[in-house]
Amino acid sequence: MSALAAMLARDLRVAVRVGGGALIGVLFFLVVVTLTPLALGPDLALLQRIGPAILWLAALLANLLALDRLFAADHEDGSLDLIMTGRAPLELVVAVKGLAQWLTTGLPLVIATPPIGLFLNLDAKAEGALVLTLLVGTPGLTFIGLIGAALAVTLRRGGLLLAVLVLPLTVPVLIFGVAAANAAVMGPVPFGTPFTILCAFTLASIVVGPFAAAAALRQEME
C-alpha cells in the first residue's frame, strides 16, 4: 500500500512543481471556451443552448491533451523501468497514476466550470448539471486516456496520435455527459437516465483502463 501512496504523492508533487502541467489544462479549457463564441458569433441565446456541449468538448480536449506525458516522461528518465520492477501490481500503479492525473487536471476543470459557464450565459440549473456530469465523467475520460498514454510511450511524438487513438473511445462518455446536462435544462428525458449510464461508463473505464494500459506498457517495454 505504501508503494501506491508514495506514487500518488510523487505524481502530485511533480505536477505542481516548476515544469509540472497542473492548471495548464484549465487554461486550455478557458481558451477553447473563449474561442467558441468568437467563431459562432455572440448570440447569447444560442450560446446558452449549446453551452453544455461546448464545455464538455473543451473539457474532453483539455483532459486528453494533458495525458500524453503521463507515461512518456517516466519512460524518458528511466523511471518506468524501475516502476515495472516494483512489488505493487502494475495495474494498481497505473490506476494510481490515473488518479493523480485526474486530481491535477480533471478536478480543476470541474472546479473551473461554474465561472467559465457564466461566459456562455448558463443559468444555475445548467451549471449544477454540468458540474455534476463533469465530476462523474472526467475520471472516465482520464482512465480511458490511460490506454492511449501507455500506447504512446515508445512513440516520440505522442500528442496528436494519442488524441486520434483515444478520442473515438471517449464517444459514449461525451454523448451521455452532454445528454445528461441537456436533460437537466431542457428535458424531455429525465436527468437520471443518461446520468446513470454516464456513471456506468466511468466505472467501467476505471476497471478496464488500468488493465489495458498495464498490458500495453508490458508489451511496449519488450
Binding site: 505504501s2 508503494a3 501512496a5 508514495a6 506514487m7 504523492a9 510523487r10 508533487r13 511533480v14 512543481r17 516548476v18 515544469g19 509540472g20 524518458e76 528518465d77 528511466g78 523511471s79 523501468d81 524501475l82 516502476i83 515495472m84 520492477t85 516494483g86 512489488r87 505493487a88 517495454m221 519488450e222
Partner: protein
C-alpha cells in the same frame, strides 16, 4: 542463493541479440559482463530483471524468497538515473525507497554513505551527472535486495566515487549478495567471474 542461466537467448525486432548464454552466479559472487558495444550487455541485464522477454533457454533463481519474483529481488541500475528534476534529492530517494518496498528511514543513511546528505533539500535539477549517478546508487543501499544488476555503473563517476562504489559492491558481496555488472572498465572486485558476449563460447 544461486542465479543460473542456461542456453539463454534474446531476440529483439526480429534480430538475434545473443543466444546460447550460460552462466551461474552464487551468493557472494560477482559476474562482469564484457563485450563490444551492441553485443547485448544491456539486453542481458534487462532480460534478467524482466524488462525484455526471454527468447529461449532457461533462467532460474535458486534459494531466493519463494514469495517474490526474480525482478522483485533485483536492483536494476540502468543508464538513466530515474530522477525527477523538480523533486528534491531526498524526495527522489525516499520515493524510490518506499516504492521499491524499503523503509524510508534508510534513505537518510544511504544519502550520507554516497556523500549527498548536505544536498538532501536541493532540487535534483541542480546535481551534476556524477552526483545524479551517486543518488541512483543510494537507492541500492536504501532498499535491501540481494541481486544487483548494474549497467555501466562507473560511467559518470570520478575516481574517488568509483573506489567508493567498489567498496559498496564488496560489502554487498560480503553480505551474501550477487552482482552482475556490464562494464568496459575494471570494477575493483577480486575474483569476479567474467562473461564475454559476442564471442564464441
Amino acid at each position: 542463493m544461486r542465479l543460473c542461466a542456461s542456453d539463454l537467448g534474446c531476440r529483439r525486432g526480429g534480430r538475434t541479440v545473443f543466444e546460447g548464454i550460460s552462466f551461474a552466479v552464487e551468493a557472494g559472487e560477482a559476474l562482469t559482463i564484457r563485450g563490444r558495444n551492441g553485443a547485448g550487455k544491456s539486453s542481458l541485464l534487462r532480460l534478467i530483471v524482466g524488462l525484455v522477454r526471454v527468447g529461449g533457454g532457461r533462467l532460474a533463481l535458486e534459494g531466493g524468497d519463494p514469495e517474490l519474483s526474480l525482478s522483485e529481488q533485483a536492483h536494476y541500475l540502468g543508464h538513466q538515473d530515474a530522477l525527477k528534476p523538480s523533486l528534491s534529492v531526498g524526495e527522489n530517494l525516499r520515493f524510490w525507497s518506499e516504492y521499491l518496498g524499503g523503509l524510508s528511514s534508510n534513505a537518510g543513511e544511504a544519502l550520507t554513505t554516497v556523500g549527498l546528505a548536505a544536498l538532501a533539500d536541493f532540487p535534483a535539477a541542480y546535481l551534476s551527472a556524477g552526483q545524479r549517478r551517486r543518488l541512483s546508487i543510494a537507492r541500492l543501499l536504501a532498499v535491501k535486495r540481494p541481486i544487483w544488476l548494474l549497467d555501466e555503473p562507473t560511467s559518470t563517476l570520478d575516481t574517488t566515487a568509483q573506489e567508493q562504489l567498489g567498496g559498496l559492491m564488496r560489502a554487498h558481496l560480503a553480505g551474501g549478495g550477487l552482482i552482475l555488472a556490464a562494464t568496459h572498465s575494471a570494477l575493483g572486485i577480486d575474483g569476479a567471474k567474467e562473461l564475454r558476449l559476442g564471442e564464441p563460447q
